[in-house]
Subunit: 74 residues, 2 copies
Amino acid sequence: MGKIILRLDRVMADRKMSLNELSEKVGVSNVNLSKIKTGKISAVRFSTLEAICEALKCQPGDILEYSPDDTAAV
Amino acid sequence: MGKIILRLDRVMADRKMSLNELSEKVGVSNVNLSKIKTGKISAVRFSTLEAICEALKCQPGDILEYSPDDTAAV
DNA sequence: CAATAAATTAATGTTTATCGTTAAATGCAT
DNA sequence: ATGCATTTAACGATAAACATTAATTTATTG
């Protein structure tokens, strides 16, 4: 059972952009952006992903990561 | 105004996997998978994205692409 | 440490849109 | 034309984003 991992945290750190700053640029409430940042969502709208990529000049792949669990595969 | 573009089509072609085959592996109806494949969705659940990445041994970034439109920027 | 700012969590309600299902339509072979 | 795969359409059910407000926790700074 793999998992989708959110890496917005890392990208924001790279760009040195605060949550509130990004929130304004993206047009999503800081509350929801925080959820995205801390991985507390289970889906994402493209409109949001798009705005984030635009604001951070990045790609979806920088934010979303699939981690296959090959942990102790039998 | 950039856009999120779906590239499932390309990855499936790479893996030479048909829609119905992927549908079974992923556990998503072929109808919905077709929508994803042809870009007719505006959001995606991680459970679905995860299953697709698992089945195709790929990353979200292979499927989702952000295309900033720098077309004739004023 | 005290005060302030930033970020996270919680709770509630609205709205958006997946996803399944069924059925019809299109496309592509043979 | 017949068959198989894919796409489109329409409908309902369910999941979950997203906004908002408020409270709480976590930096940050003097």
